[in-house]
Symmetry: C2
Subunit: 225 residues, 2 copies
């Protein structure tokens, strides 16, 4: 499996067995996560903002408003860090100390750049809408030129990145396994509820298939670990 090259900045100093540089693992975590956290520094102050992202090949695209001071800062070819985290379960150990959370996360380091090409921006918007709800794009009014201009898209090459994954039961100290305390994992996952129709829709309007399919797809996306 192809691996990214670890760097001094992405190599795990602690618990290196949790780290991976495999593109396949990194990409699947990025694709499953709906929201990423973008970190950038403005003067000396770091900021972390949540936003939507979508991956296309070895590039990550981040979506925001052209009016966002923060995204404009991040787009100025400055170093950024994009992190996504999926929570898979609560890890209950015999010892308080070894309580933990099962998770999968990815950190990408790099310099962000603004996407100005109209067709690329359109493609990113389309991919974002399809990520929110697969099959949705053809059931929407397409973006106008004005809307495309009001959308800012940031791109980041996925070259310096790593994934960190914790799975399975607690790792208690050997002598603690004799204790009577219950230990195990409580799996957590994201599920979708029943669609809530917009109050300005005609009452009784039929909910289309692609919307009904969303709940199902969410259960599938979030596999128990």
């Amino acid at each position: 499996m192809e691996e990214l090259k670890p760097t001094e900045r992405t190599r795990l100093k602690r618990l290196p067995q949790r780290g991976t540089f495999e593109r396949e693992s990194i990409y699947s975590i990025l694709d499953e996560a709906l929201v990423c956290h973008v970190g950038f520094a403005y003067w000396d102050q770091p900021y972390v903002i949540p936003t939507l992202h979508v991956r296309d090949g070895d590039r990550l695209f981040i979506h925001g408003s052209a009016a966002s001071r923060m995204l404009n800062t991040a787009a100025s070819e400055l170093p950024v860090c994009v992190t996504v985290t999926l929570i898979d379960g609560l890890v209950l150990a015999r010892s308080a100390f070894h309580h933990s959370v099962n998770y999968r996360s990815v950190m990408i380091l790099g310099n962000g750049g603004r996407v100005d090409h109209r067709e690329t921006k359109l493609g990113v918007l389309r991919a974002l809408v399809e990520k929110i709800a697969p099959g949705r794009w053809r059931h929407t009014r397409a973006p106008s030129d004005k809307e495309l201009a009001a959308t800012m898209v940031l791109q980041l090459p996925i070259t310096e990145a790593s994934a960190k994954v914790r799975t399975g039961p607690a790792m208690d100290d050997e002598e603690d396994y004799a204790l009577p305390h219950w230990a195990g994992v409580v799996p957590l996952r994201f599920v979708a509820g029943s669609p809530v129709i917009d109050p300005r829709m005609t009452p009784g309007a039929t909910t289309p298939e692609h919307v009904l399919a969303l709940a199902e797809s969410f259960a599938l996306r979030a596999g128990h670990r």
Copy 2:
């Protein structure tokens, strides 16, 4: 309701109606979120790492390993940003452009400091274990001095902070409401599955009440919006 003072750095430039400085809103979002994202800069490179947090009054405590280079950097009285984000739903609009996500997020800016006081660290570990699973602490082996020394706790005063909340249906352009496209919200929430017993537990061991109650509490914690 008491409000935090907005600053030049926390005041929303865009969509200010989504922002709030009410302590109560900020605290409830921080308390519901299991994981936060900590941003800090190391030389010129920002880093964003996910970790567990717990709030006590107007202080946020972040948990990590004493061996973590990153947390050590963040604890050196340097500016940090801690962001938590809860995802509440997928917002399907008539226009592609107005697709969105319902969420609640909090951003805290400030200078982190390391907690060295033994009893405070013990209290934070206890609060973290109780946050992962309410009622859990008395069913665990308490931390040893060695474990407390290996735990790093970072504290951050919640003084410069803001919450950002998006709820409800899409805000389509007025002329788009005549379009036939289905619009609405697909609610998302975190749910807990059945507890998976540790493979090194006695087979058939009874799952205690506080573990069984976890699934129930998760459904309650994550209210549909």
